[in-house]
Every structure is written in structure tokens, then in C-alpha cells.
């Protein structure tokens, strides 16, 4: 039935492509119907806007890099059927601890930039992993829904991060709550000056490679996939499913911590978050589009980043609110997650193939 497997894969890809195209068409139609923008301008801005200047492409990359991390992290959580959305809060919280090390201790002052970047990633990753344990513990040990706990915790972490910043390393000379300016050796430097395209991209690429290796080639990753696919079966095989569920959620937390790290220390000069960033939630969408497989995250993260950037472009060129991007994401996810979208067509092809095969068998037998 190799052919059936092929048809299934082809339809998976096709469904995503059709989903993207439909989302774009709907978005463009709405744009031209509610604004004064002409069809031509809308298409140009929406589809090619992010590629029209270096600055805009940099803006796209600025969104893309954190998505690489948060998307990979959510692949692990989603692959074991847990909807731990703590990534959102982790993005806000984990850089605070890195700021504390940065400004509160002399540790990083004279270290080379690469070492400092690794320290920042380590602090953010560890914080993320530990924070992700809370909803995981609530679920696996206490039976409380990890989704509810994590959503509640996201708000808690937002305000807690503000509080920690205020009592620790906040820059008192600023009129708003912010950290001091990140020193030149404690940030991800810009590859193109005056754009958001930073050296964090290299860590992003390494992150995707690492996630893919863990997911497909490590024993723990294999156990996570088995537990997610059929927990009862995994337990019958002697796999400690609770342990795997914890590990998956910790990995998800670590990656979300890294997403927060590259965003804070790449895009901004100071820690400036005063609201949730949506990077964690978008990570879930990236994982859904990537079909829970880290190897496809670079593609799905790019689609997401493009939608977000296109929305910003439209926002500046036409009078369309930036929230418009959220609607596009919803349309996209709807088509990607709806497994029966074009299911009838797929079945028709599979049925046709089977009938053809049977007919050929009969002919062969007759001959």
C-alpha cells in the first residue's frame, strides 16, 4: 500500500498549500473591500511586502527566529498530546533571570560575546524548563488540566516578570519599566545593520537540528512519540509514560526559554516587555502546521513570520489593523488542522487506486 501512503503524504502537503492560498485570497479580498487599497497594491504588499526591502525582510527574520524555537518546543509537547501553553509566559519570564545575571552579577562583564550568548541561552532554557514543569506536575500528578493551569500561569508570569524586573535590575532613569541597555557583548548582534536580522539565526538553525535529532533519533524522543501515539501501548512496552510526558514538556519549556532569549536580546536593546508576546501561542500554530515534526518547523515558522510581517506592512500602507494577521492565522490553522478538508477527494483517489489494482489482479489471473 505504498501508493496509499504516498497519496496521504501528498494530500497533507497539498492541504497546507491550499490552506495558505485560501488564507491569502480571503485576506486580500477583505483588504480591498474594507480599505481604499487597490487589488494590485494589496497583493504586492501582502504577498511580496516582506521582500521589498532589506529592512522589511529583517523584520520578517526578527519574527522568524523566535518561532523556530517556540515551534520546535511545541512539537514535543503537542506530540505527546499535552496542551501545555506555558511557552507564552516563559518568553516573558526567562529573560528576566538572564538580565539578573547580566546586570546583577559581574559574571558576564568581560566574557567574549559567544560565551555570553551561551550563558544567556542556558539561563533562559533552564528557567523555561523549570517553569514548564509546573503545569506538567499539575497534570501528571494532580490531574489538573495543563492547558488551564498554563493559561492562568501565563498572566501570572507576565506580572511576576514585571515585579522581578522592578525589584532587581530595572533602569531607574527610564520613564517606563525596562532593564538597562544590553551591553554590546551580551546580545545577538545584527547581521544587517538597522534591521532585526541577528546572529540568533545561527542558534535557531542549531535549535532545529537539535530538536530534529532528539525527536527522530534519540531514545527519549522515540518514547515521547510512542506515548503520544498510544499511551497504553507505550506502557505495555515497559515505557515509563509519565516520565516521557515530563521530559516532553521540559523540552518544550527549554525551547520556549530560548525563544524568549533570542527575542529579548536580539530584537531589543533592553528588556521592554509589558504584555504577553504571542510567541508561545504562535509556536503552537507553527507546530500544528509542521504536523508536530521539528524538521518542518523552518517552513511553517516562515509562513507564520510572513503573515505577521505582511500584516505589519499592510498596517503601515493601508488602514488595516495589525490584528488582521490573527484572523489569517485562524483561517490557515482551520484548513491545516481540519483533516477531512478535501478528505472526500483523497478517498476517491484511494478508492480508484484500489479498484484499478483489483481489476489488474483479475486481468492477471485471467491471463
Amino acid at each position: 500500500m505504498r501508493k496509499v501512503a504516498r497519496v496521504e503524504t501528498a494530500f497533507e502537503v497539498f492541504r497546507i498549500v491550499v490552506g495558505i492560498i485560501l488564507a491569502y485570497i480571503i485576506a486580500i479580498l477583505i483588504t480591498i473591500s474594507v480599505t481604499d487599497t487597490s487589488l494590485q497594491v494589496a497583493i504586492r504588499n501582502f504577498m511580496f511586502g516582506p521582500f521589498t526591502s532589506k529592512r522589511r525582510f529583517g523584520q520578517l527574520m526578527g519574527k522568524y527566529i523566535p518561532y523556530l524555537f517556540s515551534g520546535c518546543g511545541m512539537c514535543f509537547i503537542y506530540a505527546c498530546n499535552r496542551f501545555n501553553l506555558i511557552g507564552e509566559g516563559i518568553v516573558n519570564m526567562s529573560p528576566i533571570f538572564a538580565c539578573m545575571v547580566m546586570f546583577g552579577t559581574p559574571l558576564m562583564t568581560n566574557l567574549p560575546i559567544v560565551v555570553n550568548q551561551i550563558i544567556m541561552l542556558a539561563v533562559c532554557g533552564i528557567t523555561g524548563g523549570l517553569l514548564a514543569l509546573v503545569p506538567a506536575f499539575a497534570r501528571e500528578k494532580l490531574g489538573a488540566s495543563e492547558m488551564v493551569v498554563s493559561i492562568v500561569m501565563n498572566n501570572l508570569l507576565l506580572y511576576l516578570s514585571q515585579y522581578f524586573l522592578k525589584v532587581s535590575v530595572a533602569d531607574r532613569t527610564m520613564s517606563q519599566l525596562a532593564s538597562p541597555i544590553h551591553p554590546a557583548n551580551m546580545r545577538f548582534t545584527r547581521i544587517w545593520p538597522n534591521t532585526n536580522f541577528t546572529t540568533a539565526i545561527f542558534y535557531g538553525i542549531l535549535g532545529v537540528i537539535l530538536a530534529s535529532i532528539i525527536f527522530f533519533y534519540s531514545r527519549e524522543g522515540q518514547k515521547i512519540r510512542l506515548v503520544g501515539a498510544n499511551r497504553t501501548f507505550a506502557e505495555c512496552c515497559g515505557i515509563n509514560s509519565t516520565r516521557s510526558l515530563y521530559i516532553a514538556q521540559i523540552i518544550g519549556g527549554v525551547f520556549a526559554g530560548w525563544a524568549g532569549c533570542v527575542d529579548t536580546f536580539g530584537l531589543y536593546d533592553r528588556y521592554l516587555y509589558i504584555a504577553l508576546t504571542n510567541i508561545g501561542m504562535d509556536g503552537l500554530i507553527v507546530a500544528v502546521i509542521a504536523k508536530k515534526q521539528p524538521i518542518f518547523v523552518p517552513l511553517s515558522a516562515f509562513v507564520m513570520a510572513m503573515i505577521r510581517t505582511a500584516a505589519v506592512t499592510l498596517n503601515t500602507s493601508a488602514d488595516l489593523p495589525i490584528e488582521f494577521a490573527t484572523m489569517m492565522q485562524a483561517i490557515l490553522v482551520l484548513f491545516v488542522a481540519a483533516e477531512n478538508f478535501m478528505g472526500g477527494w483523497k478517498n476517491k483517489i484511494i478508492f480508484g487506486m484500489t479498484e484499478k489494482q483489483k481489476a489488474a489482479e483479475k486481468e492477471g489471473a485471467a491471463a
Binding site: R2, K3, R225, F233, G238, K358
Partner: protein, 516 residues
Amino acid sequence: MAKQLLKMEGITKIYDNGFMANEDVTFEVAEGEIHALIGENGAGKTTLMKMLFGLEPVTHGKIYIDGEEAHISNPLDAIAKGVGMVHQHFMQVPNLTVTENIVLGMEPGAGQLFDTKKAVEMVSEASKKFNLDVDPNALIRDCSVGQRQKVELLKSLIRGVKVLILDEPTAVLTPQETKQLFVQLKALRDMGYGIIFISHKLEEVMELCSRVTVLRHGKVTGRGNIEDLDPVKMSNLMVGRDVIMKIDKEPAQPTEPVLQVRNLNYMDDIGRRLIKDLSFGIRAGEVLGIAGVEGNGQGELTEIITGLITRTDGEIYINGTETNGMTIRQIRDLGVAHISEDRMTYGIAADLSVRDNMTAIYLDRADFKHGPLMNIKKINEFVDQGIKDFEIACDFRNEPVRLLSGGNIQKVIVAREFSFGANLIVVNQPTRGIDVGTTDLIRRLLVKYTRENNVAVLLVSSDLNEILEVSDRLLVMHEGRVAAQFTDVSKVTDMQLGEYMLGVRTMTAEEMGDLQ
């Protein structure tokens, strides 16, 4: 000629994975007849009936009820059009009473109120009318299997169906209960109902039915009146060769004890004692069969031995080690392989590949790992060898298991469980619902492993043919206890087994002899 109640014409069913379960099947049922639909497990009988009952959509073909074309989209629709089904696994709520189960969805009473008295009256009346004796106020969980089947029949009849589908109704019954069921079915036939009797037990078909339709590999291979057929003809139509598979085996030469169970007790979470003071043992080099009507503690016994559920008390030694408090993993490490009766839940992860499924128990084995990573090269070699040795019909090792047929899925499980050098193999219904080739392969392997590798096998099966063919020693379980032991399985008859399975007779300790 009797009026035609139902006609299924040119029915073809192809599943989403491309598997053709039925091909151009035509099937009729007339008023006042019991029509047998026979075929091996996996021949497409159940699929055909699922389409008739609205559980599966029809790919091609037409269904006529009372001469009119009917489009059946769901079971409610089927019942409204006069088709009822008694499933092999009863669709009942154990914590509700017989009456509540029967009237579920059509409760009498004004507005939102439930008129219990009227419901009981309805059930009593129906029970009298159809001669199906049930206690309307008993809880389903307290009813015997035979009683529950009557409840299932009443559920359909009270809704006014004219065609009744019975999916292997005797699989869960004792011979005595089967006889009673037949009397009731004949009475329903005489009232004008059309009954579809799905079975692969030919002697039952000969006794009960007037017409037969035979399916093989999803196609009709024969149909006719029962007078024109005999079991040999029917079996030829079913499998194209002799149905009973003989396994030539040398006498077992059991050596040291591998499994010892002493005074085992198990009580489930609603307080039923399913295993009572059970003691027995298995030695290396023998197949111990456990026969019994399903639900007499055999399933729980295999789950306790393999660590899936926890015993209430008693001792279990595997290769001399007491397993109390051990995890599934630790028990597996003692050398236990397990093939569960529900392979889709306990045996595989359907969406993962053949490779992932075959290696699920080997992830921590020294030769399959490179530190925290898997040794992909070794794993691929192992999987390819397994696919070859066990003749698994798949196109490539990364094909999702759900795209394979039932028999090949079971081969994937067997390949995994039989390849790690276990010396105790616990199997529960290993050949249920799979093709004859795989059935034969699995049975032969079980015998081969005991003879060549000195393995001990615990075989639980409701297929008497299987249990009598494969076992070297046979225990019969009834109500959680051993009711009989046969050391010479070749001399056991079906009737004898039936009496012990039902609990009509129980051997004394002296008659049973040494159970270890």
C-alpha cells in the same frame, strides 16, 4: 415465496487506507428466515453488516428495505428503517438497569420526566411477547452474558425492527446458553422476523439457518439453501481448503518451572472477585492452554502476570522471582513477552511506522543504542530481518502500521514479542479476527518455540479449535477458579469442555492432579 425484507445489491466497501473489505456483494433476507452469513475472520462479514446498520458508509452499491431503496447514514436511521443489530460486544451501560438500558433514547413519560413504572411495564410486556425472559429491574452488571444478550435483542425488538443482525452471538456463550438462544431465535423467525446470523461455526449454521451466504476475501463465494450444503462444502467455500488446521507436534517435555501462580486473588474496582485463590504453574517447553467462556478471569490473569493490572493478593514467580510491586518493564526484563487480545490498544501505535512499532520494547537494549541516541543502522537491520522472517506484507519499514491488514499488524506484534529471547510468552486470543495464513503461522510458532527454544507459553483463547490444537496441557477456568485440568488434550471433547466452562461440572483436586 416469502416476502423479501432486505436486499443489498452490488455492495463494495473500500476503507480510507485503500483496503477493499467487500467487493460486489449481493445479499438478501426474506421474511421469516434465518440467513447465515459465514466466512472466516476477516472475510468482510462484519463490515457488510456495519454498512447495513449505518456504522460505515457504502462505497458502491444499493440497499433495499421492503423493496424500497434506503440510504442508511447512522444506526438511528437503520433502526428507524427496521434494521437492528446485536453486537458481539454488547452496547450497554453496566450501571443502569435492564429496563433503563432497553428504553434508553425512547424513555416513556411526560415532557422531561421518566416514567419508570411504564418503562418496566413496556419491558415486561416485550419480554413476554418475544419469550425473552429478563428481570427488568436487575442491573446490567449483575446479569449473565446470556441475559445481557437477551437485553440486546429486546432493545432492537422493542424499537420495531424487522431485520435483526446477530454478530457472532454464540462466541461469548456456553454450549447450553447457545441452545437456549437458538430456541428463542427460531421463535422470532416464526413470528416473521428476518434474522442475519453471522458465524464461522458451521454446525450452528446447519442447526439454525435456512439459507447461507458465504464470503471469502470480501466476495460472495457461494450461497444456497441449507439442504443443498453440508459443512464440508461450506468450509471449502469459506477457505478453499480444510478448515481445521492440524499441527503435528512432538510430545512436550516440560523441564523447570517458569511461571508459578499461588493463591492469586483479584477484585476489580466495583468489587467483583474475578480471580479466586488461583494456583497453577507452567514449565519450560510446554504450552498451557486456558479455556473458558470470556469473562471468567482469564483476561485479568494475563494482565496481572504481565503487570498491566495489580493483583489483590497472592504470589506470582517468574523464573523464580516474585513479581509483586514490579513495573511492566521489570517484568518484561524477567523474560516475559505478551500478546494482548486487544491489539489496537495494547499492541501497536497505529499512526507510527512498522519500524517504530517493532522496536518499541528494544529502545534501551544495549546493542540498539548509541548513548542517548538510537542505533538506527542496527534497528533498521533488525526491522528488515523481522519483516522478512515473519513475512510481513508491507512496502517499506516506515509505512504506518494502520495501513496494514489485521493479520500483518498481528505479525508486527509477533515479530516484536518473539524476537527478544523471552522464555515466557503470554498470549491472549492471538489469532482473533485475522486471516488463516497468519493464524497458522502464529500457532506453529507457539509450538515451535516451546520445542526448540524451551519457552513456556500461556495461551488463553476462546477458539476451542486453537486451544485443543496448540496446548500440551489444558486448564478450564470458571468464575475465577480452575474447574478442570486435562493433561492429555487429544482426548478432550467440545461437550466435555462446555460442561466445565459452564460450571456444570468441576473436577476435584485429585481428579485435576498437579497443577504446577
